[in-house]
């Protein structure tokens, strides 16, 4: 009779089988269309940037945890996601040592110093990018026209840059035609080019279409909530429109959608409650537009999300009403209830 060796544990005795590793793997799958497209646009160097960034992230996480005598958990793939994100929000011509530095900073400074997986208050990839942007402003804002190689002669401005410099959407369209990224310079084909993502920018941020593909995949698997991205994009749309900018152009250009889908939904640096997610997203969208309109940078997604990261812990107080919630009775009401 089996009297010993029985497993004893408190119920429940069954589990879904979903693990952090599977969640991270689904994020990697969701990021793969934009990654492949980035390599298609910018060639082998973009691939090297991605590989070096991921390798640095994984190695620095393993090294840090080994040195600090913690269990090495590269198996959860979270370092791969961080490394991939750092690469995808870098310009295609970024030197390999530079992206490696960014990746290292993301993992060690922004994540492991705070306790590792699930404990980082700020989005690690965005911290990595922010550090690089401040340290190497020239290299981090050099953009190249797709399909032309990464030569000095093929640098070009991002659509947001064109507008920041006083240009119009028509100028953006003219630029597309000049670089044979679009056939006609009219408004709708300019927006279409932006939607497909055939334009200068970071390696992975340009294709709205492929970002949406990844987003739908993550939504279908219920890995991320739709609340944060919807609130962020919706608020950015509204704010752009109120400030007299073209809202559709604002959403299709720059890193807004990439940030909303893959950065603002980072588990540990964003709120866990539905209302918290909505406010978090709305705040990030608003700050993005304010930076774009009034700030010194053409783009504001990085800082918008980082600023909201700082406020996120307070939003965990915005819980939904529990089942059977009874408001604390006032003295008079209490008497009546009796």
């Amino acid at each position: 009779m089996p009297a010993n060796n029985m497993l004893l544990s408190s119920s429940p005795h069954v589990y879904t089988g979903v693990t952090p590793r599977k969640l991270m793997l689904s994020v990697i799958i969701a990021l793969s269309p934009v990654s492949v497209y980035g390599v298609v646009l910018y060639g082998v160097h973009a691939l090297l940037v991605i590989v070096v960034s991921i390798a640095t992230a994984v190695l620095s996480e393993a090294a840090f945890r080994a040195v600090t005598k913690q269990d090495v958990r590269i198996g959860d793939l979270s370092a791969v996601v961080t490394g991939l994100l750092v690469a995808l929000i870098s310009p295609p011509s970024v030197p390999l040592w530079m992206v490696a530095l960014g990746s290292f900073a993301a993992i060690v400074l922004a994540k492991e110093f705070f306790g590792g997986l699930g404990a980082n208050p700020f989005n690690p990839a965005l911290i990595g990018r922010a550090i690089l942007l401040m340290s190497f402003p020239a290299a981090m804002t050099t953009w190249h026209v797709p399909f032309k190689g990464l030569l000095d002669a093929t640098t070009g401005a991002t659509p947001l840059n064109v507008v920041k410099m006083g240009g119009t959407i028509a100028d953006v369209g003219a630029g597309f035609v000049q670089n044979s990224l679009s056939s006609v310079p009219d408004y709708s084909s300019t927006l279409w080019t932006l939607f497909v993502g055939n334009r200068a920018g970071c390696i992975g941020e340009s294709s709205i279409l492929l970002i949406l593909v990844g987003f739908i995949f993550l939504l279908a698997l219920r890995v991320v909530s739709f609340i944060t991205p919807l609130a962020m994009v919706g608020t950015a749309f509204l704010a752009s429109w109120l400030l007299g900018m073209d809202p559709v152009f604002g959403i299709l250009s720059g890193g807004l959608l990439f940030g909303a889908v893959f950065m603002a939904t980072d588990y540990s640096s964003s709120p866990v409650t539905p209302l918290g997610k909505a406010i978090f997203g709305a705040g990030a969208g608003l700050i993005t537009v304010i930076i774009r309109r009034f700030g010194g940078y053409p783009e504001g997604v990085t800082y918008a999300i980082l600023i909201m990261n700082a406020v996120a812990p307070f939003m965990d107080k915005l819980r939904v009403k529990k089942y059977g919630f009874v408001p604390p009775a006032k003295p008079v009401a209490k008497e009546a209830a009796k």
Partner: protein, 448 residues
């Protein structure tokens, strides 16, 4: 028919198919029974018999005065061998009466009683004397549940036929094989509490039971408003609060009871016991349960004498693969406790014995919370398990209380969905005790 449900929840693999089509087998011959004296929620009761006494099947063997008590009856005809503390199904030791059967079957039941012509007091006394407790969960005395104070009128009697726990099929089989007794039980409870509506809350993975139940309703109680309500197959659909909300749209207020929203909820086997107590005069001496699991080679649905030891089921009644057996669970896999050996008795509220194999009964260490929010979405009580976990780990009982740890129904959904296998519900169970103890202490201090 509209399928109703509640917000949140999850859908664990059902694994009911192995036992769902097996007819219920009734066991009479056992080598001994170990009947825990206190199987109900409430005040303790005392044995009425001594070692050496001969008892008949159905004879009262323990009782006490007091409202929150339920008597206990001998489940076999035999001799009292021992009265001593024994391991119970909840992993705690408690006083138990050990009876060794004698040949033959001498039974002593109560006289039958017509529930529709007797007074309410007579009916409630009968429910108590029959030793009926809620078999779905904590073992709440049925006669207390059926006697709400006059300022809480009852509108609905809800039969909890969801059977949302994976593996278990005993309720399904009872409704298939004894639909008329089951419906009779609902009608009797409606009469006792004065309810106008009787509803069978059935998960929609058991739609094949609907024609049989409707036929039974038409045959037995055509004059009463009893109907079947289909519910979405989702765990914990059979949680009392979830069931009430799905069916009536009402929410049981925090800290309140179903009667606060005009409902009485009873399990299938409780209702069957009610019918038997009146129609046959039979007290609760049998337990309906499902024996199944990956290591069980012959899944069964059984009626066994209360107090039968799990080990006595094997190998005569069912067989299992000793090499595969890794975990023994009393009840369903979501809420049932795991026990260290087969030397535990089957009690009034035991709904199943699961013999789980290695693939089913995995054990994990806790990982870090990645704040994915799955527990927040799945919590059937709309609590915030991830935040409760943080508060309890930090020892912040006030914050845990504020978030609502005392409202946790311990359904285990949060732990089930957690990718990092964090012991959420396990921590909340402890947390509830700590908060309760703290409040008691504060109340004492305030009293002085």
């Amino acid at each position: 028919m509209v399928t109703k449900t509640f917000k949140g929840g999850t859908h664990p693999p059902e694994r009911k198919e192995r036992s769902a089509s097996t007819p219920i087998q009734t066991l009479r011959n056992v080598s001994q029974v170990v009947i825990p004296v206190n199987q109900h929620f409430g005040a303790p009761i005392q044995p009425l018999v001594k070692v050496g006494d001969q008892v008949k099947r159905g004879q009262k063997i323990a009782d006490a005065d007091g409202r929150m008590t339920v008597p206990l009856h001998a489940s076999v005809y035999g001799t009292v061998k021992k009265i001593e503390p024994r391991m119970q199904a909840n992993n705690l030791e408690g006083l138990a009466i050990v009876i060794e059967p004698l040949p033959g079957d001498e039974a002593v039941f109560m006289p039958t009683l017509d529930p529709f012509s007797c007074t309410k007091e007579e009916a409630l006394a009968r429910v108590r004397e029959a030793g009926i407790i809620g078999v779905g969960g904590a073992g709440f005395p049925a006669h207390v549940k059926f006697a709400p104070p006059p300022n809480k009128p009852i509108e609905y009697v809800i039969a909890n036929a969801a059977e949302c726990e994976p593996y278990l099929t005993i309720d399904e089989r009872v409704m298939e094989e004894h639909p008329e007794d089951f419906i009779d039980g609902i009608a009797i409870v409606m009469k006792i509490v004065g309810a106008t509506k009787g509803i069978v809350g059935l998960e929609d993975n058991k739609t094949h039971l609907v024609p049989g139940l409707e036929k039974a309703i038409a045959a037995k109680r055509s004059g009463m408003d009893i109907r079947v309500q289909l519910l979405r197959t989702k765990y914990p659909q059979g949680g009392e609060k979830m069931l009430i909300t799905a069916i009536t749209g009402r929410e049981v207020p925090s800290g309140g009871l179903p009667m606060d929203v005009g409902c009485v909820v009873s399990n299938v086997n409780t209702l069957l016991a009610v019918s038997e107590a009146f129609r046959k005069g039979q007290p609760v001496i049998d337990t309906g349960l499902t024996v199944t699991g990956g290591a069980c080679e012959t899944p069964k649905n059984l009626f066994v004498p209360v107090g039968m030891l799990v080990q006595d089921l094997f190998p005569d009644v069912a067989r299992y693969d000793e090499k595969k057996l890794k975990r023994i669970v009393m009840g369903g896999p979501m809420m049932g406790p795991a026990v260290p050996s087969m030397l535990v008795p089957i009690q009034k509220n035991t709904s199943g014995v699961l013999l789980m194999d290695e693939t089913e009964a995995k054990a994990y260490g806790e990982g870090p919370c990645i704040r994915c929010g799955r527990c927040m979405r799945a919590c059937s009580c709309r609590l915030s398990p991830a935040l409760l976990n943080v508060a309890l780990k930090a020892g912040d009982l006030d914050e845990a209380d504020k978030i609502g740890v005392m409202d946790c129904i311990e359904c285990g959904t949060c732990s089930f969905v957690c990718p990092s296998h964090i012991q959420l519900v396990q921590r909340f169970r402890v947390g509830k005790q700590l908060v309760r103890a703290k409040k008691q202490k504060e109340a004492q201090r305030a009293g002085k």
